[in-house]
């Protein structure tokens, strides 16, 4: 369990706490206003000046002496902000965590507040110009996005019932997309995404610039050496370069320090050789998200 579970998990994981999905909570923190502001020009998030600085050439700015450290510190503060005066246009308090398919299904089947919609992925649109309906949003956020035609799929049903949402997340996950669950803003949960690296803005900031926009999952992959047939299929699925086929051993090895615990590698294995185990099983990974 991570620091957000301690604060908002009611004894369990933060994203398994029903309270964090409720309309009452959304009202209490004024989520509608926040979400409307955040979403109406979301594509501008990296272009705007935030405290006088844009994200343009962030990689260089973060390496500057002093300013770089200050920038990193304030960016982390914004991402994880629980303050009263959070600024939606810079996405204060908007961050997520990788989850395996099993937990995404539990959330969509039981916890997500209706209505549930599936809209075009913002990140693929901004970074690749691709419109792909694979972002599942729910609760108050659905009504906010429905008013923005550029995110609503044409010619397909975009309002989903729980069973349809479960079927869709399964389809995306098996394709190799990584399931993530999002606070928007913390502690209100209203989205399960199916992300790709580096198209996903959250994973981009995490993997390329070390900002904690996305936490790694509660699990890591483990390969059973007796079952592994060294076919290499799982290696093609991992978005994070965690798996390597070692020909001399005739099996795959896992770099657990890099593993996000998304579990999509499992879908590629015909020999049932990969399973997810809790991150906590490895002392070196305890508390490292």
């Amino acid at each position: 369990m991570c620091d957000w579970c301690m604060k908002h998990g009611a004894g369990g994981k933060w994203y398994m706490n029903a309270k964090n999905y409720s309309n009452e909570l959304a009202e209490a923190i004024n989520a509608r206003e926040y979400l409307q502001e955040q979403w109406k020009a979301f594509e501008m998030v990296y272009i705007r000046r935030i405290m006088g600085i844009t994200s343009i050439d962030l990689g260089y700015k973060l390496q500057l002496p002093i300013i770089g450290r200050l920038l990193r510190w304030s960016a982390e503060r914004m991402i994880h902000s629980e303050g009263k005066h959070r600024n939606p246009v810079r996405a204060d308090g908007h961050f997520g965590q990788v989850i395996p398919l099993e937990e995404a299904k539990i959330i969509l089947g039981n916890l997500a507040a209706e209505p549930i919609i599936e809209n075009y992925c913002m990140c693929r649109w901004m970074q690749r110009g691709i419109k792909e309906a694979c972002c599942i949003n729910f609760g108050l956020l659905s009504g906010v996005i429905e008013k923005l035609p550029r995110f609503i799929p044409k010619d397909t049903k975009y309002r989903l019932d729980r069973d349809e949402a479960i079927a869709h997340i399964e389809e995306h996950n098996k394709k190799g997309y990584v399931a993530t669950v999002w606070f928007q803003p913390v502690p209100y949960i209203n989205a399960i995404c199916s992300c790709e690296n580096p198209e996903c803005g959250g994973l981009r900031l995490r993997n390329d610039f070390g900002l904690h926009t996305v936490y790694k999952g509660e699990y890591v992959a483990e390969v059973d050496p007796d079952r592994c047939q060294a076919c290499g299929m799982c290696v093609t699925k991992c978005q994070f370069g965690v798996l390597r086929l070692v020909q001399s051993l005739k099996r795959v090895i896992v770099d657990i320090n890099k593993c996000f615990g998304c579990g999509v590698c499992r879908h590629a294995c015909k020999y049932d050789a990969i399973r997810l185990v809790p991150r906590e099983n490895y002392p070196a990974l305890r508390g490292v998200y």
Binding site: E43, M44, I47, I56, Y60, P65, R128, G129, P149, D208
Partner: protein
């Protein structure tokens, strides 16, 4: 002491953008050809913004430190609107 400067990637907005010959949404070739995905497509900040359905768009090269100067975007652009330099 100071970090290495990133490559300069510049788009000529008189060719591609809100006042150019092309609406970047109808092309997006540079977004797709760039392996590190350094470009961002967004509403144009210089035009009146319709929050519900913005009409004016441009592309900004954002993640410059990740550009490897492969020049694929320069070659793919039908308008010759992109320059990449040190």
């Amino acid at each position: 002491m100071f970090p290495k400067k990133s490559p300069k990637v510049v788009i000529d907005y008189t060719k591609c953008g809100e006042k150019g010959q092309i609406d970047p949404r109808n092309c997006t070739k540079c977004l797709k050809v760039c392996d590190p995905a350094i470009f961002i497509l967004h509403e144009s900040p210089n035009m009146p913004i319709d929050p519900v359905d913005p009409k004016y768009w441009r592309i900004t090269p954002v993640w410059l430190s990740l550009c490897n100067m492969c020049m694929k975007c320069v070659k793919v652009c039908p308008l010759g609107a992109i320059t990449v330099s040190r």
